[in-house]
């Protein structure tokens, strides 16, 4: 089916990819059907796009990317409401707030979106853990992840032409200068 959106123009969506939010999202209780858009940019941010209102989309991300220790503890009733026994067949996303000053971006760790990937039903679940923040600043952690990610890539691609000459050229002068001075000082 074709869905027109304000951010991504017209998108073709397979009916089986549409996710039902029985209760909507907090503040958006009237919107029940969404799908995930991957714009394929470097930020790893996806969008939860409303089917019913083309202007409504939430930037989302997998919290494990910037917070590997994050774990979602659901109550039995919450598992039941999503027809889940555990999180093995579920996806967990956090909704991001991205203000004009993008370095102040934050993630809602208190109320993640949990999706049953098999049945395509989902809820935004308010977790009981009082330490979790609604606006958890995470720009620096995301940047760390992305910088590591890209620098790993560049190491891989450049390994043959640059790896041999550059370490010697850069390392050898510094190795020479440091030991040459230090022993002398120690001896004196």
């Amino acid at each position: 089916m074709k869905i027109s959106t304000t951010r991504f123009n017209e998108l073709e969506v397979d009916k089986k990819d549409i996710i039902s939010f029985k209760e909507g999202l907090l503040g958006f209780e009237n919107l029940k059907k969404f799908f995930i858009v991957d714009p394929g940019d470097q930020t790893l941010i996806l969008w939860l796009q409303s089917v019913e209102d083309g202007s409504v989309a939430f930037p989302i991300i997998e919290p494990k990317i910037f917070n590997p220790d994050y774990s979602v503890k659901l109550l039995p009733a919450e598992f039941a409401s999503l027809d889940l026994e555990n999180l093995n067949t579920a996806s967990v996303y956090t909704i991001l707030t991205i203000p004009q000053n993008v370095t102040e971006m934050s993630a809602n760790l208190k109320a993640p979106v949990v999706i049953n990937n098999v049945l395509k039903i989902a809820r935004q679940i308010v977790l009981q853990d009082s330490k979790l923040e609604v606006r958890h600043p995470m720009y620096i952690d995301l940047k760390k992840y992305i910088v590591n990610f890209t620098s790993d890539d560049s190491k891989r691609t450049n390994i043959t032409p640059i790896a041999d000459p550059s370490p010697e050229e850069i390392m050898s002068p510094s190795i020479k200068t440091v030991p040459a001075n230090k022993p002398m000082n120690k001896e004196l």
Binding site: L26, D41, Q42, P76, S106
Partner: protein, 76 residues
């Protein structure tokens, strides 16, 4: 809305398993104790309000912020 008057130490029962006790009254503040089954969700209402606001703000992001973010994230 049902309105009940309670004194310090008195309580209200909701269904068979939920009990709310007035634990302390201090000026304009009331401390409530809540006994409920583990699976009952209890939050201060502000939590829901904060999430509503966060959702509303989040939904206003557009692709210009993302491209700004992409540039910013790639700076060394």
């Amino acid at each position: 809305m049902l309105v009940l008057t309670r004194k310090l130490g008195e309580s209200i029962a909701i269904d068979d398993h939920i009990k709310i006790v007035v634990v302390q009254i201090k000026g304009k503040q009331v401390r409530l104790g809540i006994k409920a089954p583990k699976e009952t969700k209890i939050h201060r209402e502000e939590v829901y309000k904060a999430i509503q606001e966060q959702n509303t703000e989040a939904s206003q992001a557009d692709l210009s912020e993302i491209s700004k973010l992409t540039d910013e994230l790639q700076k060394k």
